[in-house]
Subunit: 339 residues, 2 copies
Amino acid sequence: MIIDCHGHYTTAPKELESYRQRQIAALDDPSHVSSKGTLNISDDQLRQSLENAQLKFQRERGTDLTIFSPRASGMAHHIGNATTSLHWSEICNELIHRICTLYPDNFIGVCQLPQSPGVPPENCIGELKRCVLEFGFVGCNLNPDPSGGYWTDPPLTDRWWYPLYEKMVELDVPAMVHVSSSCNPNFHATGAHYINADTTAFMQFLTSDLFKDFPTLKFIIPHGGGGVPYHWGRYRGLAQDMKRPPLGELLLRNVFFDTCVYHLPGIELLLKVVPIENILFASEMVGAVKGIDPETGNYFDDTKRYIDAVPWLSADDRRNIFECNARRVYGRLKTSRLV
Amino acid sequence: MIIDCHGHYTTAPKELESYRQRQIAALDDPSHVSSKGTLNISDDQLRQSLENAQLKFQRERGTDLTIFSPRASGMAHHIGNATTSLHWSEICNELIHRICTLYPDNFIGVCQLPQSPGVPPENCIGELKRCVLEFGFVGCNLNPDPSGGYWTDPPLTDRWWYPLYEKMVELDVPAMVHVSSSCNPNFHATGAHYINADTTAFMQFLTSDLFKDFPTLKFIIPHGGGGVPYHWGRYRGLAQDMKRPPLGELLLRNVFFDTCVYHLPGIELLLKVVPIENILFASEMVGAVKGIDPETGNYFDDTKRYIDAVPWLSADDRRNIFECNARRVYGRLKTSRLV
């Protein structure tokens, strides 16, 4: 079985975007009382939005189950306030839940959290519980920078985040560290902000004792760990210079990387330097890069091909990367009726 | 000849730090009229600070000339105002000039710029001219985020920066894109902020037409290009999705990467995906990582060993990486009496 741990619902019917635009427009109207409102999208529309996209690619590429969450760049936690974010997260998560109900063999949910800059993360616990306990979701996406590129909230290792971590541990759900769109003109979202956030989170973990406080807390760093595997020597060296334990002991029981790296040399590097048990297959399809690589004739984001092309992986390595590591990290997958 | 294009004066006598502390302390005193003040460091102190550090490593590792600049994390452009930054830059650049005069075969200068958040970059032109025309420096370090981790100034591709670029082109000096320390608790300086800035700058270049406006402007992105080579497929794909030209045409006549990547697999990746003519040897010694890699028994930052260990490089490739590319990018090296 092949589990893709990183897929977003990037192909939603236009009604979802219209809902969001109405929500944002209402923020300018001081007389407006925010309410969740309604979104009318039929099951057929949902099916249609997936059939020629995620489902088609699953079939073509031979992957089975996608761990599926709302569009990451759409989260935009910097817009409006905590209520804006709550309504928007609920709407997006409910769509994911409907999709997982329509296609229980193809998708299992991960939720967007109703974060908002400056608002304590414990404010997200209600929506996390709803998604995990009522919808059967197996994880959440945690935005380390709700400000959208100004990085005004505390680092992920600050006690500010601890109440949410306590609930994650209790529910046995990991978080994928995933920023959203950038409202800072310095940062292109998928080309800079995403990769930077991945690198930043890793270094926060490296310099803290977070995992002494939460030995079973788990994070997936997406996009192949940002810049981290490429600079693996730098990180080993920095940890050593700072008299920190070796990375294995310090954080590799808690921090995992996905395989959203869109060329073979990058995947080879990842598989060479990061322990196999810390690597989870993912493609982020349909996602950041949509085109076909003229150098290979295949989709850039068809990451399974790169892994298949690495000759020195054992059958066990492949099973771990494609399935078993995801089952270990997403503890609730084990008990899900789906798998 | 082996040219290391990225070395900082990280081993200055403690008098330099005392000067800086006095300067910072004076900022708290409203009655204080800022003046440059004086710094007393003897030539013998300078020699001593280098003999057992940069010079020793040059000898041990078999490198010849280091393109040398003030300590990057010490620039701290976010402290004080433009006058603070000017005095501090002058002091630091003068030390580099003295070192280059003492050891003309070992060091050639690159200057720190007196940037300050919100202050137009053309304010740096005076110090750039002084360093290039009076001191014989061959480049500058340009901080894309003078705020120190809040990214409040415009992207490097904004016209905000154009007057400085005009002067750089006129003087035929490239800039290394190099942030300084971070005052944002989210970002560890050498482990996150540096790498993020490298990635960010590349994506800014990718999405702009800066090099149509300045066809001969040149940037070196240090630390092996941040996360860029590891995600080379992502960048090729993003450019293609955005209907931008291929990277070669779009920016590889203007953007270069150094080899400050502290393990062999990272260097192999860099040499595999980035055209050889865009790679400049560098070690950043004595810099970000000071220790010895227990896996190899060698210094993490002894990057020459990694390049030497790559079997498929031709003699021409090596000459380009170690010498010729630096001579092309740092145009004034050609005319310098030193080389």
